[in-house]
């Protein structure tokens, strides 16, 4: 039973970071450019969501957080397309600038708890916890028993619904005209221009979409953990890449929709592995090495597969 609750806890965390994995998938796999804005836009989604949640609008807060990510992506794309700055550098510059912006959104602090000032029945000034989507959702389960009584399970369920809808939406989007134009931009930008499509516009749309997804993850996490903190963005891109790569290796290359689902799966699996690593009495530095080895192994699997296949076919190149 202990293991079940740990599994649910890992899955709920993995599901919260799944939109970020989807965002990294869009830039890393579809647009085929690295985007380092992620560390900044994740926190941006978190801080904007915090500000709007405290104002009393939890659902609007999620949308606002997502929009914030899109805005960040817009600036990164602007640097890339109009100023012709290298993609890696564009991302770094925007992420660095976002640090100041995030600080300002939090009102000059580095940590903000989701609560607001109110007066209690005795007339004293107190702070009350702001409503979040998870809190409202949990109210539906008051009094239930069994697996769903666990708050992590409730978080998992609500986030799963959101992520499933999101993945389905993306899967459909990438077969529409604008979606396919974005896919082609990553594949062969020249061809897109030759088809009389403005490639700068499609690239901008792609980067905005990716960062909107990443920021949504930040917003969801903010509502789940009930605070926003500037330190939450560190090594987000690496986590996202690890999720995408693990997902791709384990679930194979199954086209667009398969790729999206495998990114989500990779996020879940990654958190499960990390959770398991804590269970085994590993010293702290070893866990970091373990994560590294997992990603290296994941990257090596395709090469090993190819070598084995070539060996079986007697060395015929394709």
């Amino acid at each position: 039973m202990v293991y079940l609750s740990m599994l649910i806890s890992a899955l709920s965390q993995g599901m919260l970071y799944a939109p970020m994995a989807l965002g990294v998938f869009v830039t890393f796999r579809i647009l085929k450019t690295p985007d380092l804005t992620v560390d900044g836009s994740f926190v941006f989604g978190m801080t904007v969501c915090a500000a709007v949640t405290i104002a009393g609008h939890p659902v609007l807060a999620l949308l606002a957080g997502t929009a914030a990510g899109a805005l960040a992506g817009f600036f990164t794309a602007l640097l890339q397309t109009k100023l012709r700055i290298e993609p890696i550098l564009s991302g770094i510059l925007v992420a660095a600038g976002l640090y100041t912006v995030n600080y300002a959104v939090l009102g000059g602090q580095s940590n903000l708890y989701l609560q607001y000032d109110t007066v209690n029945s005795a007339g004293a000034a107190v702070k009350a916890a702001s409503p979040t989507i998870y809190k409202n959702f949990s109210a539906l389960f008051a009094g239930t028993e069994g697996v769903l009584a666990d708050s992590n399970a409730q978080v998992l369920l609500l986030t799963l619904i959101i992520v499933a809808a999101l993945t389905a939406g993306l899967g459909v989007f990438f077969f529409t005209r604008p979606g396919m134009a974005i896919r082609a931009t990553g594949d062969n930008e020249e061809m897109v221009r030759s088809s009389s499509i403005n490639a700068d516009l499609t690239r901008t749309a792609g980067v905005m979409l990716a960062n909107a997804l990443v920021a949504l993850s930040g917003a969801l996490l903010c509502q789940q953990q009930r605070y926003a903190d500037l330190n939450c963005g560190s090594s987000m891109l690496v986590m996202g890449l690890a999720s995408v790569i693990i997902g791709q290796v384990l679930f194979g290359d199954r086209g667009m929709v398969g790729g999206l689902i495998s990114a989500v799966g990779g996020s879940l699996l990654y958190r499960i592995i990390i959770q398991a690593a804590y269970q085994v009495d590993m010293p702290s530095y070893a866990v970091k090495l373990l994560s590294t080895l997992i990603v290296v192994a994941a990257l090596a699997v395709p090469l090993v597969r190819r070598k084995l296949a070539r060996g079986q076919r007697g060395g015929k190149a394709q």
Partner: protein, 338 residues
């Protein structure tokens, strides 16, 4: 190009980490065989750092010295905030009886993870528990010890040695909640009392030297930094720049004075650890956390570093040093940790 990025990511290391190695505690995989009397306590810290380690070690030794049957597990997120929730979930799943989160975000994550659970949480070193959401009606099981330093005391510290101080320079790391709130309180006090000040914040340690030089160029007579975990780990750089210009550095923690700062009225982390341990023992004996409002330090640490005084050419009267314990002698002998 994408694979180069991934390799860079690998080299930077990914994922999070924890440590199950305590000075004398045991691992958190519960021993079902032991008697139900064993009280399981988990101490969770966000990173490794002198002050935080001091708190942890003090709590551990005081709990062990109590003679009660306590099983202590210590956890460390090693700077990865995403690991906090994983570590705390594990603690909850293993059925700990009490959690001691160290620092603000750890305590906030603990509150979320244990929400709806009756497991008591005794936080350590949260400078503003109310702002952090740890004191409301939904915090029945939460109590702890705040490391808040009253702003008035800070300014008094400086004026004790430099009654003619015209301008104070505040230096802090913008992403550290504790440090920021301390400085904000100090600034508000200065505004109230009409004391001039300058401030510079840094996002990471590489900016420390420039920040200190900037403040000095603006004509400050004294520099102050609160209990700032980042800057505390770089006192050498900080003091080199300041003392070369003859400006004393006042800090918020005794460990910072031990590492080169001049004087502190601040958090004595051993004192903090002992108060936390006392609270833990009270809760263990049956006290209801709801009846225990959070505590502030009952005793502030007032320390000076005479070697530092020599470095910036101090010529303060002996009377100024009264009431301050010498943490580091003129010749560099340190009494830190004694």
């Amino acid at each position: 190009m994408a694979s180069a990025l991934v390799i860079a990511g690998i080299l930077a290391g990914c994922g999070s980490s924890s440590s199950n190695s305590a000075p004398s505690g045991t691992a958190s995989s519960g021993s079902a065989a032991s008697a139900q009397e064993t009280y399981k306590v988990a101490i969770v810290q966000p990173m490794s750092h002198t002050s935080l380690d001091q708190i942890r070690d003090t709590i551990v030794s005081k709990l062990e010295a109590s003679g009660k049957s306590i099983e202590i597990a210590t956890e460390n997120a090693n700077g990865d905030s995403t690991a906090l929730s994983t570590i705390l979930s594990n603690c909850k799943a293993e059925g700990v009886d009490l959690v001691v989160p160290i620092a603000t975000s750890t305590a906030q994550s603990a509150k979320t993870v244990f929400d709806g659970d009756s497991t008591p949480i005794v936080f350590a070193a949260v400078s503003d528990p109310t702002a952090a959401g740890l004191t409301g009606d939904d915090c029945q099981y939460i109590t702890g010890v705040s490391n808040n330093i009253p702003a008035a005391e800070i300014v008094k510290l400086i004026f004790n040695f430099q009654p003619d101080c015209q301008k104070i320079g505040f230096l802090y790391t913008s992403s550290e909640a504790n440090s920021v709130s301390t400085i904000n309180a100090a600034k508000a006090y200065c505004d109230q009392e009409g004391i001039a000040y300058e401030e510079v914040s840094i996002a990471n340690l590489s900016e420390l030297q420039t920040a200190a030089e900037t403040l000095i160029s603006r004509g400050v007579d004294a520099l102050y930094t609160g209990n700032d975990n980042s800057i505390a780990s770089a006192m050498a750089t900080y003091t080199d720049v300041a003392y070369a210009a003859g400006i004393p550095v006042y800090c918020g923690a005794d460990s910072m004075v031990a590492d080169g700062g001049f004087a502190t009225i601040g958090v004595n982390y051993v004192q903090l650890g002992e108060q936390v341990a006392d609270l833990v023992l009270k809760v263990m004996d049956g006290a209801d956390p709801a009846d225990l409002p959070y505590e502030t330090l009952s005793d502030y640490a007032k320390f000076v570093n005479l070697q530092a005084a020599g470095r910036f050419g101090a010529d303060f009267p002996d009377s100024a040093y009264e009431g301050y314990d010498v943490l580091v002698e003129e010749d560099g002998t340190s009494h830190f940790g004694a």
